[in-house]
């Protein structure tokens, strides 16, 4: 009855539940949705951004080329104001934004801006522009600002159809701040598009999780029903997926379990009915026999010695047989759950005193009592009498006088107070290996004793009677010597009136 082992798994289950099937399914669904929404958004964003940038770049390169093609230069190119004025003219007409235009020729460096040499143009771009006469561009990020740098080598006509690189290379540097703003706006749009998408995905996610989990929930409910004894529980099998297989397997197992349990119950029922029937059948002849034992006892004195002994033996054993049959009947009723509790509110101390005095155990000093007055409890007086009589009788037979019967009540934190009755004897105590079996039927703790006065069912009946009262009984040994039986019955004295 200890609750120790229970608390651990309960805590563990709560922690596992946080990552339960529902949560995991939902997470998986959200993950898929997040990946697809994110990927779509990212790809769209990238395409849009590239298109945006390419448009800007192509416009810039094309218009730069056009601008450059309108200039005329003398060779060798002369640096100075004229050149700078030329570059400023190109820079002003820059598309889509104004450029800073740089010119490099031999050792001549000029620009439309303040610095004749750009810090943004990379050596790679310069090398490419010199190595082959192609327009080329490169996107550079400097100090967090993206720039488009265009290199435009120039050629001039040496003949009607022939061109020759002039050695003059013009560079345009265009900060892409506007494009940056647009791209950032795109990014925001992609993100703002993906997040509501995720939120919307949550709803089908929940529905999907629900549809997957419903069979699992049914399974759980069914398993709980089975556990509480409804073995005819079955699960509806839907579809042909793994969960349906699981449901089928569950149903098959449940069917087998039900069959097995039914067979066991039937076998048990048969055995119980047999014991009950045997007792019943024995009782009727016993009733006749018991009625005439007196006659035998009285007349035995007038018979010859052997006949008298035989007659007395028959009489005595008839009595014992009657007790045994009555006890068997009582046990059968407990097994058939046919035992009824006819409770009455009684004074417990008085009830115990009556039990002891009816059996003449208080005539001498064999039984001592510590029975405080005023304890009233709702008990079945007849069954309580049997319990006390069995315990005290057992203590007197197997333990040793004096036997102490002690009565007290104890408040339990759980709720109702309990009535505690202790029966202690002064014998050698119960052997440790016998303790677990002391309430078994026909169990003989004392192997040397072939037959005792009791039926061998006394303690088993005691246990059943106590359980019928909702109580518990324990057998143990006192520190010194002697056995102690502790009987605990919840007190329901006042509240539950019958």
């Amino acid at each position: 009855m200890s609750t120790g082992p229970e608390s651990g798994p309960v805590l563990g289950r709560a922690r596992v539940r946080a990552f339960g099937l529902r949560t995991r399914l939902l997470l998986a669904f959200l993950l898929v949705a997040a990946v697809s929404a994110g990927t779509t958004a990212a790809l769209t964003y990238r395409e849009a951004r590239n298109a945006l940038l390419e448009t800007a770049q192509d416009t810039a390169v094309t218009s730069f080329r056009e601008q450059v093609q309108q200039i005329g230069v003398g060779l060798p190119v002369q640096g100075g104001e004229d050149l700078e004025e030329l570059l400023r003219g190109i820079a002003r007409r820059g598309k889509p934004h104004p450029w800073v235009v740089f010119a490099e020729y031999g050792s001549v460096r000029a620009s439309s801006g303040e610095n004749p040499v750009s810090t943004v143009i990379t050596p790679e771009l310069r090398r490419a522009a010199r190595a082959n006469p192609h327009g080329s561009f490169e996107r550079v990020v400097k100090d967090g600002v993206p720039y488009l740098t265009i290199a435009m080598p120039t050629v001039f006509k040496t003949g009607p159809y022939s061109l020759l690189p002039s050695g003059l290379v013009l560079y345009a540097v265009m900060p892409m701040t506007d494009e940056q703003v647009n791209v950032d706006a795109l990014l925001m749009a992609a993100r703002d598009g993906a997040l509501p998408g995720l939120a919307v995905a949550l709803i089908p996610g929940l529905i999907a999780a629900r549809s997957v989990l419903r069979p699992v929930r049914e399974l759980r409910r069914a398993a709980r029903n089975m556990g509480s004894g409804r073995l005819d529980t079955r699960i509806p099998v839907r579809g042909s997926d793994e969960l349906a297989d699981l449901a089928r397997t569950f149903n098959e197992s449940a069917g087998q379990l039900e069959r097995t349990v039914r067979e066991l119950r039937e076998a048990e029922e048969r055995a119980r009915r047999f014991a009950s029937d045997v007792s019943h059948e024995l009782r009727t002849p016993l009733a006749g026999m018991l009625a005439v034992t007196e006659v035998l006892d009285e007349d035995a004195d007038h018979l010859d010695a052997d006949t008298a002994r035989a007659v007395r033996l028959v009489s005595a054993e008839t009595g014992k047989l009657a007790v045994l049959v009555e006890d068997l009947m009582e046990i059968s009723r407990f097994d058939a759950r046919a035992a009824e509790l006819n409770t009455d509110e009684i004074d417990v101390a008085e009830a115990i005193r009556k039990t002891l005095s009816n059996r003449h155990w208080t005539d001498d000093d064999r039984v001592r009592t510590q029975l405080p007055d005023g304890i009233r409890a709702r008990l079945d007086p007849r069954r309580f009498d049997i319990v006390i009589a069995n315990l005290v009788g057992n203590a007197l037979r197997h333990g040793g006088a004096p036997v102490t019967v002690r009565l007290r009540t104890e408040a339990r934190s759980a709720g109702t107070p309990v009535l505690i009755t202790e029966v202690m004897d002064s014998g050698p105590g119960i052997r440790t290996d016998s303790l677990p079996h002391i309430f078994d039927r026909f169990y003989k703790a004392d192997a040397a004793r072939i037959r005792s006065a009791g039926s061998g069912l006394g303690l088993a009946i005691t246990l059943e009677n106590v359980k019928l009262h909702g109580g518990t009984i324990r057998a143990g040994n006192l520190p010194g010597a002697g056995a102690v039986f502790t009987l605990e019955i919840p007190l329901r004295a006042e509240g539950a009136g019958g």
């Binding site: 019943h280 009782r283 009733a287 009625a291 005439v292 034992t293 006819n342 009830a351 007086p381 009136g497």
Partner: protein, 227 residues
């Protein structure tokens, strides 16, 4: 010695009980069926009926009812423990007490004596007839009238009423009543008391549902009055 009519279908029980009681000096007539028993009654005129509940044909409860229609003959049922339902029905039908089979003859005889014993308490120093409301109780003549009409009370009912009325407004627990009225042990079946109280109320009370004379004190027992 009282004359006992025994109705019991099982031959061995019938014979054993008859033999044991006769040895103790009772005059016993045994019958195997309810019908035979009822037929023997007029001729035998028993002082007490020992009635097995489980009978072929007419069962014990029916026999009990038929007897009660005509007389207040003391009736003790013979029953086996576990037939609890039959006990209650038998008691409601008017049986005064019951004995669980198998029982020794001395137990049976003790019960017979208890049922037949007159209540001898409270006789002295009392008026011959006591009046409580509409009830008039004659302790000497052992008759009870209500509003002048005599009431037919079975022995256990009469004894219970006399015992309660002897100490008006005193509460008796059912265990006490079992010990004093039925001479049972303290732990005997309290349903005996409840069934008898129910029958008594049906005869003396105006409304059995709200009793005046025999009142219940829940959790403690019964008392007579206050009116």
């Amino acid at each position: 010695m009282p004359r006992v009519l025994l109705i019991e279908d099982d031959p061995s029980v019938r014979e054993g009980v008859e033999l044991g009681l006769r040895r103790r000096g009772h005059e016993v007539r045994a019958a195997a069926t309810g019908e035979a028993g009822l037929a023997a009654m007029a001729e035998f005129r028993p002082d007490l009926l020992l009635l097995d509940l489980m009978l072929p044909g007419m069962n014990g409860v029916q026999v009990c009812r038929q007897v009660r229609e005509r007389s207040q003959l003391p009736i003790i049922m013979l029953t086996a423990r576990g037939d609890d339902f039959d006990v209650v029905i038998g008691l409601e039908a008017g049986a005064d007490d019951y004995i669980v089979k198998p029982a020794r003859t001395e137990v049976i005889e003790a019960r017979i004596r208890a049922v037949l014993r007159r209540l001898d308490d409270g006789g002295a120093g009392r008026p011959a007839i006591e009046f409580y409301g509409e009830l008039a109780i004659d302790r000497v003549g052992l008759t009870v009238t209500k509003a002048g009409r005599p009431l037919a009370l079975a022995p256990s009912e009469l004894k219970l009423l006399l015992h309660l009325a002897a100490a008006p407004e005193q509460v008796f627990s059912r265990q006490q009543l079992l010990e004093h009225v039925w001479e049972h042990s303290y732990h005997a079946d309290a349903r005996l008391v409840d069934a008898c109280v129910a029958r008594l109320r049906g005869k003396i009370e105006d409304e059995a549902g709200s009793p005046r004379y025999v009142q219940t004190l829940r959790g403690f027992g019964y008392r007579f009055g206050p009116l």
